[in-house]
Each structure stands twice: as C-alpha cells, then as structure tokens.
Symmetry: C2
Subunit: 188 residues, 2 copies
C-alpha cells in the first residue's frame, strides 16, 4: 500500500541509485520519461538533481510548470521503462500508448505512475545557468511516498523479486538491486 | 586485471548508481571519502556530478587541486567505505589508519584505491555558484579504468559475489547490486 514517507527520509528512496521514471504535466499535457542520471542533493529540505535533455518534451513541461515527479519502477516495469525512454512525448501520448495508469499526486500536477514502489513530488529550483549549460535540473522534494511492502521504517526490504528496483547500465540492459550486505556476505 | 575503459563508455561504470569512494590530493596531502550522491552528467566528453560537503577535508583538496578520482568499491570494502565515510581527514591519515593501498592514477595526482572495481580520474569543472550554494561539484572524466573480471565490453558481469558494487541506503546499511534483469526474472 502507498504510504507517506517523512520528508527527511525521502533521500533514502533514491540513495541506492535506481533508474527512475520522471513524470511532468503542464496545461493538461502530461509526459513520462526514463532517467538514470538522478541523485539526492540534500537531506532537509530534501533536494534532488536530475539530468534532462533540453530537446525533450519533458524538459519543456518541467520548465513551464516548475514541477515533476520522480517515480521508482521495478523489475516488472523494465520493458515500460525502456519503452518510455526510447520515444518522445512530442508526437505521442505515452500514457495511452503504453496503457500506463496513474494516481493523482498531492502537491503537484504531474501524476504518480502506478506499479512503481516510490514517488517523490518535486518543485523545480530554477538555476538557468546549469539548466542551459549541462541540462542539469535541481528540485525540492515536497512530498514522498513508498509502497510499504518494500519500503518501511526508512529501509528497503525486497521480499518480492518482481518489486526490486532496476539499475540501467546501457542499451536497455539493467541490473536489479540485490539484498542487504551482511557479515555473511562479507565472509564469502 | 585493471584495464582502460574507453572514455565514451565511462558513464556505464556509474550508471547503475553505486556508492563510491572519492580520493583527492593536493601538495602531498591525500584523502578519501565515501559518497552516495554521484551521477553521470554527460556522455562525451564524459562528465559527472558529485555532492561534497563544504566543511570536508576532501572538498578543500579537490577545490585547490582541481582534481579527484571516483573509485567504485565492492562488498568486500563495505566496512572500509563506512569507516572512511565516518571520519575526517583533517585530523588523521585515513590511508595509514585503514591500511588502504593505492596505485598511481594516470592524469591526476589523486590515487586509485586498490581493491575497487572501477576508477574515474576527473578534473573539476569550476562552477562556484552551485559549489557554494548546493555543495554540488562537476567534473570531466579524463581517464577511466575497470577490473576486467567484472566489467568488460561495456557491461558489468558480477560472477563473484564479493566483487559486487554496494549501494548505500542510510546509516551504514547497504544493498549489493544483483544480476541482469532477464525475461525469466520478469516471468516470476
């Protein structure tokens, strides 16, 4: 079940480096893209950094609306992640094309992608120089959510292999996250 | 064995979101710290973004020298990663304290930490505003290396569990990276 994550623990949803989906919405037009180049930037208030190409449809929606949502997909969404990362929302509605269902976010217009295991609602922190020079965008996390089947008490616990986060290497090739590193693992 | 990685594929060493060690050196003083907040920023020339606290010893070495190395540690280095991430090089020599062995980098003074599985030699791209405001540092990757036991032909292949990369969640709790996401995994 989707539960609120305290803002000061929101960084933990991204700290292990998953590949994410980024949703955006402006004046009734919405889009979703894939991004591996994301990281936490601060604890409290929580901030994030993401890289989004200036030619992408998402970039224009995010800069016009000043908002986006980082959604963390799972092994079951690997094909979807590659699919939405391989086409542009300029010429198609990816939500209908890929039968993506969504829920309303609490504080931003961009939607939460169903089936993901965590969601961070963000407001863009305008920094035109780095946006224009490096395609680097900063955001403040204003609300955060996680599926309590796999994230609770500030920790991930992947008991179900199909809900593990995915970590893109290149060309649609992903690794899934493993289990906790324990003294037993170290003793191997 | 440590082998050169083509610069245009260097981003693949970090694309899956591992926690890293960052080494630095200036006028004979060297240091190493842990960082989970890192990401690729561009393909070619390859660039990276990292977050480093302005009060850290590493930050001063990196800003004075204009150089750093991102080293990617393994499950076997989990305790070392937590240790060097929990103390300051201002008051100690972490290399002697933790018996860290190093090799010379090719283009920067900061050392390569032995036992890691990948290394990215970087030159700082000065951006004072985001350094001062967000502790956000950008770098250009000028040389890259990987242990060909686990990274070759542009792909990770973790056959040995002790050489898997580690992904920090919080408080010294890490997940190790898993295997490739395959159609079999998806069919679970």
């Amino acid at each position: 079940m989707r539960k609120t994550v305290e803002l000061e623990k929101a960084y933990r949803l991204m700290n292990h480096g998953p590949t994410v989906l980024i949703s955006s919405s402006y004046q009734g037009k919405a889009n979703v893209m894939a991004a591996a180049w994301t990281m936490p930037l601060d604890f409290s208030p929580p901030k994030v950094a993401i890289v989004i190409d200036k030619n992408s449809f998402s970039r224009s929606l995010i800069e016009k609306s000043g908002e986006f949502v980082i959604c963390i997909p799972t092994v079951q969404q690997e094909e979807l992640t590659t699919a939405v990362g391989s086409c542009s929302g300029k010429s198609m509605d990816k939500f209908s094309e890929y039968k993506i269902t969504t829920e309303k976010a609490s504080l931003v217009a961009a939607p939460l992608i169903s089936g993901c295991v965590a969601w961070l609602e963000c407001k863009l922190i305008p920094e035109p120089h780095i946006q224009n020079t490096y395609d680097l965008l900063l955001g403040e996390v204003v609300a955060a959510w996680a599926d309590d089947t796999v994230f609770s008490h500030g920790r991930w616990h992947f008991t179900n292999d199909t809900q593990r986060t995915i970590h893109h290497v290149a060309g649609g090739h992903y690794l899934h996250i493993g289990d906790a590193v324990t003294p037993d693992t170290l003793a191997d």
